[in-house]
């Protein structure tokens, strides 16, 4: 009897144990399943975020391209004006030169030939100017990441300053500002991704012109808006300074301006990505640095340093 009870208890105990193990295993399997689904969920969210980030970068590119378009129209009309007119002048001059040759006035013919040659150089120079603007516009809109190449920072700075200025002028007729360039002609070419770097400069110029325009709205008539770009070579580094005498950055937001989506512009006017992308491109993309000096109501100066 005792043995029977013992055996029964043993069997009962075994069942309980088995059942317990079974429950335990099921729980572990269940937990494992939910972990896996959580992981999948996480992976999916991460992919979505990655896609959203790419879309935002593209959006920012297109937004700054939109700001460029009007500037581009103006910047192409000007070189075209020279290409068309100097080539027409040359056609006339060639006729005149032939007439002088027929008359035997070779000295005069030689003088005309010199003028034709000079005009030809102007045509070439302005043709290249238009070409470079179109090429940069195309580079600007492309989504692919590109390679570093030796780049003339002065030319890039000058071109984007003008594009930014004319873009804003075309959008808002009340906007105006003086622009100054102090470009160090001894600057060596430096390895950068030209379209990325161009976009950084464009962002800084757009911000600078925006700041002087904001100040102009409240300042007295004596206020003279001015945006300048200065390049120099110091201790093996290229320094690009973009300075405006605009509204300045208040101390309490100075730390935030490089953060993604931070903008002081009214809703719909700024993506809040310009400076954060610029920071990424300079620091991560080119191993450089961006510093800010500013005084509220007086000036803002962005200083980019990049190693050669």
């Amino acid at each position: 009897m005792r043995l029977k009870t013992f055996l029964l208890n043993l069997i009962k105990g075994k069942r309980i144990l088995e059942h317990g193990v079974q429950i335990h295993t099921e729980e572990v399997v269940q937990q494992g399943d939910s972990l896996e689904s959580q992981l999948n969920e996480f992976e999916k969210t991460r992919n979505e975020l990655e896609i959203a980030k790419k879309q935002l970068i593209q959006l920012e590119k297109m937004a700054s391209l939109g700001e460029l378009t009007a500037g581009i129209a103006h910047e192409i009309q000007n070189p075209l004006n020279f290409v068309n007119n100097f080539s027409e002048v040359n056609a006339e001059l060639i006729d005149e030169m032939q007439q002088e040759i027929d008359k035997g006035n070779f000295e005069e013919a030689k003088a005309i030939a010199c003028a034709i040659k000079e005009n030809q150089q102007k045509i070439n120079q302005h043709g290249k100017r238009a070409d470079s603007i179109v090429k940069n516009m195309l580079l600007h809109s492309r989504d692919n990441s590109s390679e570093m190449q030796p780049t003339d920072i002065n030319a890039l700075a000058d071109e984007y300053l003008r594009l930014s200025y004319h873009g804003l002028r075309a959008k808002d007729k009340t906007f105006n500002s003086a622009m100054m360039t102090n470009l160090d002609s001894n600057l060596p070419k430096v390895n950068v991704i030209p379209q990325d770097f161009g976009r950084v400069l464009l962002n800084l110029f757009n911000n600078a012109f925006y700041a002087v325009h904001q100040k102009q709205k409240t300042a007295d008539a004596n206020y003279k808006p001015e945006v300048s770009v200065t390049t120099s070579l110091e201790n093996g580094q290229i320094i690009i300074m973009v300075k405006d005498n605009g509204s300045g950055i208040p101390e309490n937001i100075k730390d935030k301006i490089m953060q993604p989506f931070f903008t002081t512009k009214p809703t719909g006017e700024g993506t809040g990505l310009g400076l954060s992308l610029s920071y990424d491109m300079v620091v991560k993309g080119h191993g450089g640095n961006i510093d800010i000096k500013t005084k509220e109501g007086e000036y803002t100066q962005f200083i980019i340093t990049i190693p050669i």
């Binding site: 103006h74 009309q77 004006n81 020279f82 002048v89 102007k122 302005h126 622009m179």
Partner: protein, 125 residues
């Protein structure tokens, strides 16, 4: 006749000199150039009695062509110089602003010099 050309593009100077080489040679026209609205006002202050006609770009850094035009209209009443605006933006808004501020003509870039010469000759007569 003295013509003042105001444009921030430096190559406008050789272009005008070449385009009007015959008129310059014959003494019909005489050109002066300024690279900004501010420069133009300074030039006019010293030489305004000589300048009969002003050709000005609109989109210039600093003082715009429209501001220059309005300053000229307020400062130099007798005799009022002829002012023609030349711009790469040929839109209605620009034209309206130019005309409202007292421009005599509104021309667009790329500049048609045959047309410009015709216009200049009608104003000379």
């Amino acid at each position: 006749m003295k013509i003042l050309v105001v444009d921030d593009e430096a190559d406008v100077q050789p272009l005008f000199i070449q385009r009007f080489r015959k008129e310059i040679r014959s003494g019909e026209f005489d050109f002066a150039f300024s690279l900004s609205g501010e420069d133009a006002l300074e030039y006019l202050e010293k030489n305004h009695s000589e300048v009969v006609l002003i050709l000005s770009d609109i989109n210039m850094p600093g003082m715009t062509g429209i501001e220059l035009l309005s300053r000229i209209r307020h400062t130099y009443e007798k005799p009022p110089p002829v002012v023609m605006m030349i711009t790469a933006y040929g839109d209605e808004e620009n034209r309206r602003q130019a005309m409202q501020n007292g421009a005599n003509e509104f021309l667009t870039k790329p500049l048609d010099f045959t047309l410009l010469k015709e216009k200049l000759k009608t104003f000379v007569e």
